[in-house]
């Protein structure tokens, strides 16, 4: 089980198939060990702003990058994004939005709210795997968040 202090990538994804495929793509780049998965928006908010009941939450440990699906149960991705970017403690964490299609009007909203990049989840698995792992690598290896 991945420990929170080791978390480098937070994946917020409700679809278990997509989550599995994403994890597989990251695993191919040897990034999977540092991934933590939230299955809906509420859980993601709990992870960051919870009252302490969240089993895995530990103050002071923040992921280096967040992969955020926009369409989520309970609290949708845009709301999560808004909350993250409002909070001084979390607003510097890079957020990569995962979306099903480039046609989605939510992409524009996500950028306005401060998303750093986006990935269209292609049907083609190889393309998806490449995109996910590229972005993950980019933000983990090339981008140094302010300390």
């Amino acid at each position: 089980m991945t420990q929170p202090h080791e978390v480098e990538i937070l994946l917020v994804e409700d679809n278990p198939s997509d989550a599995e495929l994403t994890l597989r793509a990251l695993k191919q780049r040897n990034l999977a060990n540092q991934v933590f998965v939230c299955h809906d928006g509420a859980e993601a908010l709990e992870f960051f702003f919870g009252d302490g009941s969240h089993a895995l939450r530990e103050i002071g440990v923040v992921p280096k990058v967040i992969l955020l699906d926009l369409k989520l149960p309970k609290v949708d991705g845009l709301e999560v994004l808004r909350r993250l970017k409002e909070e001084a403690r979390t607003k510097s964490i890079p957020v990569v939005v995962l979306t099903s299609s480039r046609e989605e009007p939510d992409i524009a909203k996500a950028y306005r709210l401060g998303a750093n990049s986006y990935i269209v989840k292609p049907v083609d698995f190889e393309a998806f795997a490449r995109a996910v792992s590229d972005v993950g690598l980019y933000w983990l290896l090339l981008n140094h968040p302010p300390r």
Binding site: N15, S17, D18, L21, R24, K71, S100, S101, E103, E104, P105, K121, P122, V123, D124, F125, E126, F128
Partner: protein, 592 residues
């Protein structure tokens, strides 16, 4: 308010027409009345001069007859006969006494003479200034009256002569002459014309001509037409000094005649006064009529003007406009009808606006549903597809070594079809998005756009020989992003269908067609059967099998949709294995 009379406003035409009509009627009636008054005045004047003349003639006839009787009595007097027979030597006192019966001594204006047949005057009694000249004997012994004669320019004299015989039926031995002077003076004229009414002139004179008198002085004879003598006095018109109406009559048995005359000017003076007075009244009537007509026309045109103003305001969009309505006449009813109509229009417009709002709302809802549907398609349809594809790949990658070749082939089919399904969804979404996208018109540099797109197409073609020739292209008016999509689709299409050519040739050019520009993309690719040209631009319409050329059949539909949204046309020409040319038109953008 200018131009031809029938283009004038009613407010101007109606009073003008009415006034003209009134004026014409008044003038005709005035003329008729004046004529009647003149005729009456003329008739009255004629009657007056005739009656006057008759009365004067009658009076003169009576006095002449009386004088004749006196003279006849005188010449039958034995003493006078004896005096004449004696040649004036005896009986002078007898003769004088007899003559005194005719006219007393010192009677003014009368002189009496006795003459013998030898032309000697035997006796002169009375005013010697009136004494006559020797004259031939009259033909008979009845009193013969002579024409007037003038002596010393002022004396108008007339004789009555009678023969003296020796005894009854005896020989003529002499004659008696009674000379009478007509007493003419201003006083006499005033007195006599005063009796006749003051305005009438009385003239006496000889039937045959001069001398004549107006009772004040000697005057020239009136013109012959004034002296025409009939059995009774007849009024005639003539000119003596000025135009006159007069009636003449002879004193029977004498060469003397009377004329009573009136000046026409005086006769008609009253008619003219009447005319002047009536004209004044007529003018007042016309002015009052014109004012009345103007007032009436204002009462008609004012409401009409209000109606016109209100109608114009309503036409301009102020549907709340109404007119003030008073009265129940035609104009009042028109105003009521107008207000009712305006109310109806306003209500109908309100309904219409309500309907538009309602429809727009419904349309927005439908659009929102469509958006939601598109979102759902793009998200929810792709997620399972991704899972199918992804896990099929995992199966192949992780467990491929344990699978039979047939199982691997089936997995490959799954792989292919999920890919195609994903492409289909993407294309369909971009096609439907075109209908909702905001249209931004700008000047688009087509040459630059085509060069950019061609570079991308060449990149995608990889090592394959592909020759894209771009001719000069004029700029167009349109949405740059949409046009980019259309050209991308056309060039991708051309690149795809020239895949089996070495090299593949694509030519992009244009030709001017009026205000439009016809652009074309020509290739030397697989072409198409012209019988199916109509299906070329339909959604999901494909003329080639998937094994030959991949594709979803959406690309050309998108091109057509984009060109149609630009107000242009799109068509294609081609033959199987002889290449295809795609044409589209756009409005040109002037370089100014």
């Amino acid at each position: 308010m200018s131009g031809l009379p029938w283009n004038w406003s009613i407010e101007r035409k109606l009073p003008l027409f009415f006034s003209a009509l009134l004026l014409a009627v008044v003038l005709v009636m005035l003329g008729a009345a004046y004529q009647q008054v003149r005729t009456a005045a003329l008739t009255f004047a004629s009657e007056r001069v005739k009656r006057s003349t008759k009365e004067w003639v009658n009076a003169s006839q009576r006095s002449t007859a009386q004088q004749r009787t006196q003279v006849a009595t005188l010449v039958a007097d034995p003493g006078l006969r004896d005096f004449v027979a004696s040649g004036g030597r005896r009986g002078r006192d007898w003769a004088l006494a007899a003559m005194r019966h005719v006219a007393p001594d010192n009677t003014p204006n009368v002189a009496m003479e006795l003459w013998d047949t030898g032309g000697h005057r035997l006796l002169l009694r009375g005013d010697s200034a009136l004494a006559s000249d020797p004259a031939p004997l009259p033909a008979s012994d009845s009193g013969v009256v002579s024409p007037y004669r003038v002596r010393r320019d002022t004396l108008l004299l007339s004789d009555m002569q009678a023969v003296v015989r020796r005894g009854p039926e005896g020989e003529v031995i002499g004659r008696v002459v009674v000379v009478r002077r007509l007493n003419v003076s201003a006083l006499a004229r005033q007195t006599l014309t005063g009796i006749a009414g003051g305005d009438m002139a009385l003239l006496i004179g000889n039937v045959d001509g001069d001398p004549w008198t107006d009772l004040e002085k000697v005057i020239p004879a009136p013109p012959p037409e004034a002296r025409v003598v009939h059995d009774s006095a007849i009024a005639v018109s003539y000119v003596r000094g000025d135009a006159k109406i007069g009636a003449a009559a002879r004193i029977p048995g004498t060469p003397i005649m009377f004329i009573s005359e009136l000046s026409r000017r005086q006769v008609f003076a009253q008619s003219r006064t009447y005319l002047r007075r009536m004209s004044l009244i007529a003018a007042v009537i016309v002015v009052i009529g014109a004012l009345g007509a103007w007032s009436v026309s204002r009462r008609i045109t004012d409401p009409l003007n209000h109606l016109t103003t209100a109608a114009a305001a309503i036409a301009a969009g102020d549907l709340g406009q109404r007119v003030n309505v008073s009265g129940t006449d035609e104009l009042g009813r028109l105003g009521h009808s107008f207000n009712a109509m305006a109310g109806e229009v306003q209500r109908a417009r309100g309904d219409l606006e309500g309907q538009v709002v309602e429809r727009t709302r419904a349309l927005r809802e439908t659009n929102a549903e469509l958006e939601a549907f598109s979102y759902s398609v793009s998200h929810d349809l792709r997620a399972p597809l991704r899972a199918i594809h992804g896990f099929a790949r995992i199966l192949l990658e992780d467990h491929g070594t344990g699978l039979e070749p047939e199982a691997k082939r089936v997995l490959g089919v799954i792989d292919d079809n999920t890919r195609r399904m994903g492409q289909l969804i993407d294309d369909l979404l971009s096609f439907s998005r075109l209908g909702r996208k905001e249209f931004e018109t700008a000047r688009v540099d087509m040459a630059d756009l085509v060069r950019t797109v061609a570079a991308e197409v060449r990149l995608r073609a990889g090592d394959r020989p592909l020759d894209i020739a771009i001719g000069p292209l004029p700029p167009a008016l349109g949405d740059r992003e949409m046009l980019r999509q259309a050209i991308t689709n056309l060039l991708d299409n051309a690149a795809k269908f020239t895949r089996q050519r070495a090299p593949g040739r694509i030519e992009v050019g244009h030709r001017a067609d009026g205000a439009e520009t016809v652009y074309y993309v020509k290739d030397n690719g697989a072409g198409f059967d012209p019988r199916y040209t109509s299906k070329l631009f339909g959604v999901f319409q494909r003329l080639h099998r998937a094994e030959e050329f991949e594709g979803t059949g959406v690309g050309l539909a998108i091109v057509q949709r984009i060109v149609l949204r630009h107000g242009g046309r799109v068509w294609a020409e081609g033959q199987p294995d002889a290449g295809a040319t795609f044409f589209f038109t756009l409005r040109g953008a002037s370089d100014a």
